[in-house]
């Protein structure tokens, strides 16, 4: 069946017309070119405006940024927040995914909606509701309130990754393990977990990146603390040393690209693992 179908599908893939091709490439360039400007402007000698082409190139801004204590403080806070949010989201997201995959129960749709809601509603709604709740409850704004907010919208990322993998993995594997005499914990440790591990890791990394980049909810749940995006936002309105923001942006891109690419490679080839067909 399969071998018969493949040559047909190859033929029907066909060639795209030049119109479609150029429209597709336009989309890709539109999505990816602007980032290059961030890098270019990190090297410009013009520190007060955005003149293009840059009047000259220099690497001095890397040294300037390196010497800024406030940059390092913001970076360190962001890393801590992202790590804590990632851990909380991994635990809660996995639990939710396991429950939703394994069981049918009353109100299941409502639970799905509840998990999705923090990213379905605009960030400003999440942000302001958390802020009004914290201030009503006299909770002082701190590192913990930032983590509380971030973990809430990170759960769904881990949940999505975990449940997608669970749905793709075959129940026959679990049944086989049980039939061969393994108990629930052994099955979990030797069959389910290895199958799920890369999806969880990928979900966790995406959660890390999501938290590391977040600015809207953070503005509302942080007190005096500055995460890296908030620090950058402040820098943007300062007239001097503009390229410092670009250098910080390059750092941020490197720090988030690594987990994102890792997540991509971890989940890439899992679509047709042997024996996992539905």
């Amino acid at each position: 069946m399969r071998s018969k179908a493949s040559p047909v599908s190859d033929r029907s893939k066909g060639q795209a017309g030049w119109g479609l091709k150029s429209a597709a490439w336009f989309g890709v360039l539109y999505l990816n070119l602007p980032i290059l400007f961030i890098i270019l402007y990190g090297f410009t000698t013009d520190d007060a405006s955005y003149s293009f082409p840059p009047p000259g190139l220099t690497t001095q801004w890397f040294a300037v940024t390196w010497a800024r204590a406030d940059f390092w403080e913001a970076l360190w806070l962001s890393v801590q927040v992202a790590f804590a949010s990632m851990l909380i989201a991994m635990v809660l997201g996995t639990f939710a995914a396991a429950a939703m995959y394994r069981f049918k129960f009353f109100g299941k749709e409502a639970v799905t909606l509840l998990i999705l809601l923090p990213i379905a509603l605009p960030g400003i709604v999440t942000g302001i509701s958390l802020r009004s709740a914290f201030s009503l409850g006299d909770v002082p704004f701190s590192y913990f309130t930032i983590v509380l907010g971030h973990a809430t919208f990170c759960i769904v990322v881990v949940y999505n990754n975990a449940i997608a993998r669970l749905r793709r993995s075959s129940p026959a594997l679990i049944e086989a393990s049980m039939d061969l005499g393994a108990d629930t914990f052994q099955t979990f440790r030797h069959v389910i977990l290895p199958n799920l591990a890369t999806a969880l890791l990928a979900g966790g990394m995406l959660a890390f990146a999501l938290s590391f980049d977040e600015i809207i909810v953070t503005t509302f749940t942080a007190g005096q603390q500055e995460t890296l995006p908030i620090w950058m936002f402040g820098e943007l309105s300062r007239p001097r040393q503009r390229p410092v923001t670009n250098v910080a942006a390059i750092f941020v891109m490197i720090i988030t690209f690594v987990p994102i690419l890792a997540a991509y490679y971890l989940t890439r080839d899992t679509d047709d693992v042997a024996g996992s067909g539905k």
Partner: protein
């Protein structure tokens, strides 16, 4: 060698496992309670606090919140100024959604139907990377590009088309001294930021169109054009609807982009931010935040009819 389970010595973990196996409800509760507690208390709790706040009002003289249920804040919401903020935001969200759809469709169609192997992976990464990379950095990139002395103005001037651009910038709605202070700039940035959210669901919907359907269509004598209009496009509509949920909702609530790029006229997000921050009027901020929630509820109801939830 004994093979029956009953004959084996039962370890603690083994008997606990059996205990759990016989009580699936308990397992369900153990798994579901922690995430539900978190989301229920922290998230839903906060949302309800917000809702409650919108029914309080603020004392004009002391600037203290009066904790008595009233509709006064909602009455203040529907002034001409606030309505124009809401209208402006809705218009921007609609324009951004339509343009995103127009740019996303061919890209998604190409990825789903024509690209294969390495090319497909390349395109996929090219869509995913911007989605996950830093939001503020990406907005900032457009501030650099759109600035008066930036790349777009420079290229257009080098082509000798400067006067054309200047003329466009004097048109009634777009008006601005440069692209980065006009609605054109705001729209371009919004579309750029939310585009991947539109591409992915459309691509997923197109991938699900079975090839046999297309073959049947052409066997029955449809030209490629007709197949596209009558088979492929209708099947992509749930994907477009799903994508539009994101582009619409995200534009409604954003306050960073219009603050950095565009005219000084505020959007809903900026109004909420100002009411809670500088004005210290939490009830008004809460009432304003209800606007995108209500609009999204209506929007989701429509999207559900178009089958968007099956395409998410």
């Amino acid at each position: 060698m004994t093979t029956t389970g009953a004959a084996r010595p039962r370890s603690l973990s083994n008997s606990f496992s059996t205990f759990l196996y016989q009580r699936p409800r308990l397992v369900l509760a153990l798994l579901l309670v922690p995430p539900l507690l978190w989301l229920g208390i922290i998230y839903l709790g906060s949302l309800f606090t917000l809702l409650a706040q919108s029914f309080f009002s603020i004392d004009d003289f002391t600037a203290q919140t009066i904790y008595e249920p009233t509709l006064a804040t909602y009455a203040r919401l529907f002034t001409a100024t606030n309505l124009s903020i809401i209208f402006r935001t809705l218009a921007m969200a609609s324009v951004v959604t339509v343009i995103s759809g127009i740019i996303a469709f061919p890209l998604a169609y190409y990825i789903a139907r024509f690209a294969s192997g390495r090319m497909k992976a390349l395109f996929y990464v090219a869509v995913m990377l911007p989605l996950w990379s830093n939001y503020l950095v990406r907005v900032y990139a457009w501030k650099l590009i759109l600035a008066k002395e930036g790349a777009i103005h420079w290229s257009i001037n080098s082509l000798g088309l400067g006067p054309v651009l200047d003329w466009i910038l004097t048109l009634p709605v777009v008006e601005g001294s440069s692209l980065s202070t006009s609605y054109i700039g705001t729209t371009l940035t919004f579309v750029y930021i939310w585009l991947p959210f539109m591409v992915l669901p459309i691509q997923a919907a197109l991938e699900r169109v079975p090839r046999s359907l297309l073959e049947a269509s052409s066997d029955l004598g449809a030209r490629p054009n007709e197949t596209f209009r009558k088979v492929i496009f209708p099947l992509a509509i749930p994907g477009i609807a799903a994508g539009s949920i994101f582009t619409f909702s995200l534009t409604l609530g954003d306050y960073i982009i219009p603050q950095l790029i565009g005219s000084s006229r505020p959007f809903i997000g900026q109004a909420v931010y100002q009411f809670q921050g500088t004005a210290g009027d939490i009830p008004m901020a809460a009432a304003f935040a209800m606007v995108p929630i209500v609009i999204m509820a209506i929007y989701l109801a429509i999207a559900k009819r178009l089958g968007a939830f099956d395409a998410l």
